[in-house]
Each structure stands twice: as structure tokens, then as C-alpha cells.
Amino acid sequence: MTDAGTPEPATGTARARPLQRLEHIDAKNTVLVPVLAVVSALVVGAIIVAATDIDRLQHGAFGGIATNILDAYKALFVGAFGSWTGISETLVFATPLLLTGLAVALSFRSGLFNIGATGQMLMGGMAAVWIGFTMNGPGIVQIPLAMLAGIAGGMVWGGMIGVLKARTGAHEVITTIMTNYIALALVTWMLKTTAFKQPGPSGNPISKAIANEAHLPKLLDFVRPGLRANIGFLVALAAAVGVWWLFRKSKLGFELRTVGANPDAARYAGMRIGTLTVVAMALSGGLAGLAGAVNILGTNRQMTTSFAGDIGFDAIAVALLGRNTSVGTVLAALLFGALEAGKTRMQLDADVPLDLVLVVRALIVLFIAAPLLTRMIWRIKAEGGGLGLSFRGWGS
């Protein structure tokens, strides 16, 4: 069950024997199952579209249903990749998904369930927007400062969960769910205070806009000005490399993986479980906070209460689909970003409600989280492939 999370031999020996490392790559489980999971989810999504097409079903227009489904998926693809605008939007949506996905993947590999990416992203966003509207450039100083503030905001919010877990044994699943709601209430209140609230008569909880200097530079200006994609995506990619480096090359990453795979073994090896729990949650929260900062500086420009949405769940989906690896998370985030970017087009062109994308994403999680089910449906013979992660009770 635990092949994804088992600590491989220390990196030195792994480098000395590259062939041994190759054996760890299990093509069926790491490539085939995720691809088939996406295909299965799209097939089930198509069945749902067909079964709810009351008008065509009544008239027996089964050909019409089939073309409608094909149109919908084609529009989804064209909306995401068919134009520079589509590609730009895909990158924009993929950026926070990638960062929060990395946050969740990092916690998963350390044996923790971080369901609180939403709250950590909100806190990071608050910190970043405050730097964003109180300062006025220069960008070279303000942008990194705002990002650091975002990381710090998320780190505090996430690290707090780690402290609670390490000191009192409070299970992080329940504390992260609860602190998500606390963060939302806190942000709603702060956005109504004079320190944050946008000037004007509107009573809506919306913050002041950040300074022009703090806007992230655009990524695709050389193609056409006005495309929203910004260097936030590169920041996210850099974070992915950072996480890869952490788990592959650093002592801390090795310790985190060991705790994640087998806390008892880690304790007997003299690792400090409590400290590592706090560090893992703080790092995870920091990544989610960075997602908030990048969203504020890159696209949103001001803080609203709905700005993080339900990203915590999407982040879990991205991490699972990416099998908790950096490369996988990048690909998964791009896929989910594409679904997000293409869904409006799907609703316009094919008259299929855009909420289908939420259903498809949930189904992808199902088929990824249940590799046995996916393998049973597609009749693949392979061993292992579990997530290397299991809920170990509510703690006592």
C-alpha cells in the first residue's frame, strides 16, 4: 500500500545506482492509472449529460445527444487550448491550483492531511493585499515583499495546525476544516474594517486595490497585450522545483518522508516528530499562502471573501492526480486549469452547465483514489499503487 510514500535509500546511494531507481518507476501505476482515471471521469460525465438531456431523450434523438456531448468536450478543449486567450486563462487557473496542490502533496508525503489550503490561501491573500495597497512600489521590492507576506500568512495559519497537532494531538482533518471557516469569518470581518475596506459607500467586504507597481509582470505580452497570464505561473513552477529539491535532495525532506511513511520508525531513528509535524504544516501552509499572494498580485488585485472558493478540495484532487510528485502535480494542475478555463465556453457553445466540470473533477479524485476500482474497470493487472496515505483514526 505504501510504495508512493516509502522512503527510498538515501540519495547518495540512489545516485550511485541509477538502474535501481528506474525500477521504482511503475509505469502502470504512475502513468496508466491517472490517464485512465481522467478518461473514466469524462465517460461518466458524458453519461450524466446524456441521462439528463430530457428533451432529446423524449424525442428519441440519440444522435443529437451524442453530438451534444462531443460538442461539449470539444468546446471544453477549444476553450482551454484553442486560442492564446484560452492558453493564457489555463495558465492563470493552473497557478493557484499548482501551488495549493503542492501544499497538499507536501503534507500528504509527510503523513498529514492538509484540508485547510482554503484558509491558508485566504490568510496569505490578506497579508499580500495589505502589502499591496499600503506600499506604492517600486515593484522590484514590493512584489517579493508581498509574496513573502503571503507565505508568512499561510505559514502562520498552517503552522498553527501543526502546533495543535504536535502539542495536543488534535487531528488535523478536523482542525483544518474548522479553521477554514474561522479564516473565512475573520477575513469577512477584516474586509469590513477601515484598515482594509475599499473606500466608497458599498457595504460589500472588498479590500482596497493593490498599487499598480505591485502587479505581476505579464507572461504573454509579446503575443498580445491584455492576456492575463503572468509570471505567477513561473513562481509556481519554481515552487514545484523547490518541493522536488526538498524531498529528493535535503535532509529535512528525507525526515518528512520518513515520518509520513512510518512515524514509529522515524521516532526510533531519533527524529523529532512534533517539530517535523509543525514544519510540514508550516511549509504546506506557506505554499498555500503563496498561492493567495500570487492570485492577488497577478489577477485579482483586491481581496474578496470568495477569492479562494473551494480550492482546498481541488488541491487535494491535484495532489492525488499528480501522485504527490512535483512533475505529476504540475501536469495535474495544468489539466484542472484547462477544465476551469474551458468550462464557460462549454456552457456557451454546447449548452451544458459548467458545473459538469466540478462533477468530472470529483470523479477524477474517485478513480485516482481507488486505483483498485480503476484497474478492475479497465482490467489492468498491477500490484500496489496505493496512495501511501491512510487516516489513522482521530487520535487520542
Binding site: 439528463t52 488534535a170 474548522m178 458545473d355 466540478l358 468530472v360 474517485l366 496515505l389
Partner: protein
């Protein structure tokens, strides 16, 4: 925080053998009461005047704000002394309840000083509002007591709400309720099937169900209800007066003029308490949740019992979801609005006991109706802080600050029967 089994041996105080955890809890409670006394003295003694609390039929009573506050301060200090000195043993929870009620009354007389306040309205909605939370929590308790973690209460409730509206509009209300129960039971079966047969992590399956249902009900409500608006109307349910009991002063309107859902919820709570702790089914369920291996050795079919209980729990949650249909009369996207997660919190705060969960739900219901009420009283306390309280309380309880909240030991772990 390692508790050694020998920790109490060094303790020879007059209070008798108390465990380390009990002493720590008594200390924490004492400190909490002291802090409350200070907070009351500093913040709640400032308002002069009398607050009038209106009950039904023109009855009312008044509290002088300042005097009430000082009485409360004195009481909290004495109770804190008692807690720090030797603790209250079995009375700990009763003392906690007393302090909570006093604090609330002090707070209310402070915020309503010089005006009047309809206490009866607040209490009626305190009992009525948390109905889906109570029913959802019963569903969660059955699942977790059998060793399956149920994060999916939210999804099961939302599905129940949708199906009750949709099928109820096409047919009649109670057939809609039946459909809600059947479909939520099916979803719960899916949870059990994935958790037991495929050993998928139960937290992940729970989240899958929540978001699958959210996406699907959003999708279906756009796809079906936009063109066929008559499919999205079931009408609301009237309160049902219990003959004879509803005319009792004060208590009657609070407890016996509610909808049928409230009565069913209370029946579920007391029925489930009896079933869990007094019947063979209950003993088997608890043993499967605590130590499935031992239960298996004694000839209990662990897997079958888990399936059956989770499916029953799903039907209960579906029924709870149909409350939204009866309350609003139509379906709105995401109309459960996180109440399934409050139900989960209630399960934990109530320590996996039905009556504990009911008490927690009522306290949360009180917070909620107070939050709505305070907005009209202009106390200067942001309503966000009131709405934050249930979640904050949950974190405090999970951290073991007011006594350890320990779940069924085998919850979340797949069972291999070899």
C-alpha cells in the same frame, strides 16, 4: 502530553485518585472561569439600565445589567476557586453548563440594557434551526461508531435536499422524502463500498462525495429547473402543535410547536442512545468500531455490520437533508451551506454520543440565532465573531482543553478479515 498509567500514584490529595488528565482538565476549567470572570468584570459591567426579556403571552422578566454582571463575576470566581482546589468530579459538565448559561444571560442583559429582547423567539429558533445538524450528526455517529469516518454528511444532506425537492415536486412531499432517503443511502453505500471493498482512504471518499454531490446538484438544478420551474417547488411544512403540551407556558411554544422534523430528530437522539448503549446491535456496533478484530473473533460479521450501519446512516442523513426542502420549499444551489460540516463538528464536540451531540447542536443553534439577533441590537460586536464560535469551540474541544474527546479507535481503518 504523554500520560503514563502511573501518573496518579504520586497524587495523594484528599480528592482521591484522580488521573493526570482529570487534574489537568480541572486546572484548565478553573483558569477558564477566572478568565471569564475578568472578561465579565472588564467588558460587561459598563451598561447601566435594565434589560427586559419577553416571553410568550406578554409575560416577561427583567434583569438589571450591572448587578447581573457583578453577580456573575462573583459566581465565576467562586466556581474557579472550587475547580482549582479540587475539581468537580462528575459535576464538571453541570458546572460548565451553569457557567455558560450565566455568561449568556449576563451578556444578553448587557447588550439589551435599557431595551427589551424577545427571548422566546431566540429559543424557538435555537431548537428549530439545528434540526438538520442534529439529524446529520446522528448519521455521523452511527458511521463512526461502526468504524467508518463520515466526512460526507454535507454531501448526503445536500443530496437529500435536492431529491426531496425534485421528486417531491413531481410527486408528493413524502414520496420526495423517501427518495431523499433512498438516494442518500445509495451514496452512503458507495462510501462503504469504496472504504471496505477497495480500502480507499475514508477522508478522501468523504470529500469526493461532498463535491460530487455539490457539482451534480448544481448541474442538475441548472439543467432541469431552468426550463421546468414547476419541478422546483414542494411548498413548506407547517409547525405541528402537539396536543395538550403546546399550551404549557414558555416551554410549550419552544418545544411543542415545531415541525415534525424536530420531533423526529429528538426521537432519533434518544432512540439512538438507547440502541447504542442498551441493545445487542449497539454493543456489536461499538465493538466493530473500537476493535474489529475482537468482534470478528466473537463471530460478528464486521464487514456486513459496517455496510448495514453506513447505509442506515445514509438514509437518516437523506431525511435530514429533506428538512431543507420542507423549510425553504425549493432548491437553491449549495443550500446546506456547510451545515454537514457543523454536524461533523457536533459529533466530535458531543464525543460521539447522541445526547452530547444534541447538546452541542443546541449550543451552536443558540449561537446562530443570537448572531442574527445581535445584528439588530447594535452591540458593536461583529456578527462574524459570533458565527465563528462553533468552529472555535470545536477546535478547543478537539485540543482536549475541556477534557479529552476520543473517537472510536478503529474509525478510518480498513479491516482485513484474515
Amino acid at each position: 502530553m504523554i500520560e503514563t498509567p502511573l501518573a496518579h500514584l504520586g497524587d495523594t490529595s484528599a480528592a482521591g485518585p484522580r488521573t493526570f488528565a482529570e487534574r489537568r482538565r480541572a486546572r484548565n476549567m478553573g483558569i477558564t472561569y477566572l478568565v471569564l470572570a475578568v472578561i465579565t468584570a472588564v467588558f460587561l459591567t459598563g451598561h447601566d439600565g435594565t434589560a427586559m426579556f419577553k416571553l410568550d403571552d406578554g409575560r416577561s422578566f427583567s434583569l438589571p445589567a450591572q448587578t447581573t454582571a457583578w453577580v456573575a463575576v462573583a459566581m465565576f470566581s467562586v466556581l474557579a476557586g472550587g475547580a482549582l482546589w479540587r475539581g468537580y468530579g462528575k459535576l464538571t459538565n453541570a458546572v460548565l453548563a451553569l457557567v455558560t448559561v450565566t455568561l449568556l444571560m449576563t451578556f444578553l442583559s448587557w447588550s439589551a440594557a435599557g431595551t427589551s429582547f424577545s427571548l422566546i423567539g431566540v429559543l424557538v429558533s435555537t431548537v428549530g434551526y439545528p434540526t438538520p445538524i442534529v439529524i446529520g450528526a446522528m448519521s455521523g455517529i452511527i458511521c463512526e461508531r461502526s468504524g467508518i469516518v463520515n466526512i460526507a454528511i454535507e454531501g448526503l444532506l445536500l443530496n437529500g435536499a435536492f431529491m426531496a425537492v425534485f421528486i417531491g415536486s413531481v410527486t408528493t412531499f413524502w414520496i420526495g422524502v423517501l427518495a431523499a432517503m433512498v438516494t442518500s443511502a445509495l451514496l452512503a453505500w458507495l462510501l462503504a463500498w469504496l472504504a471496505i471493498r477497495f480500502k480507499v482512504d475514508q477522508v478522501i471518499v468523504g470529500f469526493f462525495i461532498n463535491f460530487f454531490v455539490l457539482g451534480l446538484t448544481n448541474f442538475l438544478s441548472k439543467r432541469l429547473f431552468v426550463e421546468h420551474q414547476n419541478w422546483n417547488y414542494v411548498g413548506t411544512l407547517r409547525p405541528l402543535k402537539i396536543w395538550g403540551l403546546h399550551s404549557i407556558p414558555v416551554i410549550g411554544p419552544i418545544l411543542f410547536e415545531q415541525t415534525v422534523y424536530v420531533y423526529v430528530a429528538w426521537l432519533l437522539v434518544f432512540g439512538l442512545t438507547w440502541l447504542l448503549f442498551r441493545t445487542r446491535w449497539g454493543l456489536r456496533t461499538r465493538s466493530v468500531g473500537e476493535h474489529p478484530r475482537a468482534a470478528d473473533t466473537l463471530g460478528i460479521n464486521v464487514v456486513r455490520l459496517r455496510y448495514r450501519n453506513v447505509i442506515i446512516a445514509g438514509a437518516i442523513a437523506g431525511f435530514g437533508g429533506s428538512w431543507f426542502a420542507s423549510n425553504v420549499g425549493q432548491f437553491n444551489q449549495n443550500m446546506t451551506g456547510g451545515r454537514g460540516f457543523i454536524a461533523l463538528a457536533v459529533v466530535i464536540v458531543g464525543r460521539w454520543k447522541p445526547i452530547g451531540a444534541l447538546c452541542a447542536a443546541l449550543v451552536f443553534g443558540l449561537f446562530d440565532s443570537l448572531g442574527n439577533k445581535l445584528a439588530t441590537l447594535h452591540t458593536g460586536i461583529p456578527s462574524e465573531f459570533i458565527s465563528m464560535l462553533p468552529y472555535l469551540a470545536t477546535v478547543v474541544v478537539v485540543c482536549g482543553f475541556v477534557g479529552r474527546s476520543r473517537g472510536p479507535k478503529a474509525a478510518g481503518q480498513p479491516y482485513d478479515s484474515q
